[in-house]
């Protein structure tokens, strides 16, 4: 799904850090959303809300995946470095063996 434009300098360290932070944050938000158990007191509305929460959590996961794809895409254009979960850059060479969890 990578449609990026990996030109020279595309893997700017600040961009990699921002992508790494966003990827982790959206994933965490998805998990956090599913911990909520709201009670609306009306079954049809409750079902609508439950379905919405599931969808919102899925969307946040999808965002995390998209950010990860972009990170991999950019990382593969940058030799010698790739982003770790803390936003720093490692000294690995070549392709973007990415940081953090693979989903």
């Amino acid at each position: 799904m990578t449609d990026g434009s990996p030109g020279a300098g595309a893997a700017d360290p600040a961009i990699l850090r921002a992508l790494t932070t966003a990827r982790s944050a959206t994933r965490a938000m998805s998990d956090e959303l599913l911990t909520h158990l709201p009670d609306l007191g009306d079954l049809p509305t409750q079902r609508a809300l439950d379905a919405w929460v599931e969808q919102a959590a899925d969307t946040l996961r999808a965002l995390s995946e998209a950010l990860e794809e972009r990170l991999l895409d950019l990382g593969s254009t940058r030799t010698g470095q790739h982003a770790l979960d803390d936003g720093s850059l490692s000294g690995a060479t070549g392709s973007a063996s990415r940081a953090g969890d693979h989903r």
Partner: protein, 163 residues
């Protein structure tokens, strides 16, 4: 006393959490945007515009639904308070609320039948106003949730398809 109000606290908590998450997503967009601008000044192409757009749209939906849930919480608490306010009159006339109806409490009553009937009709009218507001807000909330869910599903598809 019925007319289930659910748990306003849990609904409000979710609404607040969604608005906080929306704010966090907006911050992430700013971080990505700032980094992209800086890279752009160095001659690099903007490589995260699609991701920023997706995150921005998701933030909008989370903020909107968070606000709706908080608004619903207010409606729910106010409705419960209005129903509670009927309680002294209900007790005085040996009446109870069953679902959305004011009915006579089972067993004998010392209340004058005509007075009891009149009070029952008056309280039913007041209860109808409360339930009408609640029903209207519930229907609006359901519609908004369905619309937002469709939007979010589209964002999920876009994010996963790379479109």
């Amino acid at each position: 006393m019925s007319l289930s109000a659910g748990d306003a606290g849990s609904t409000s908590a979710l609404g607040g959490a969604l608005r906080t998450q929306a704010g966090r997503l907006a911050d992430l967009v700013v971080e990505l945007d700032t980094a992209a601008r800086r890279a752009g000044r160095a001659g690099s192409p903007d490589c995260t515009d699609r991701e920023r757009d997706l995150v921005t749209r998701a933030a909008t939906e989370l903020d909107r639904v968070g606000g709706l849930l908080q608004s619903w919480t207010t409606t729910s608490v106010e409705s419960a308070a209005r129903v509670r306010a009927l309680e002294p009159a209900l007790i005085r006339c040996d009446l109870v609320i069953d679902g959305h109806l004011v009915v006579e409490r089972s067993g004998p009553s010392r209340v004058e039948p005509a007075e009891r009937l009149a009070e029952r009709e008056r309280l039913q009218e007041l209860l109808n106003r409360v339930t009408a507001v609640r029903s209207r807000e519930q229907a609006r909330l359901r519609r908004e949730l369905e619309t937002s869910g469709t939007t979010l599903a589209g964002l999920s598809d876009r994010a996963r398809s790379g479109a």
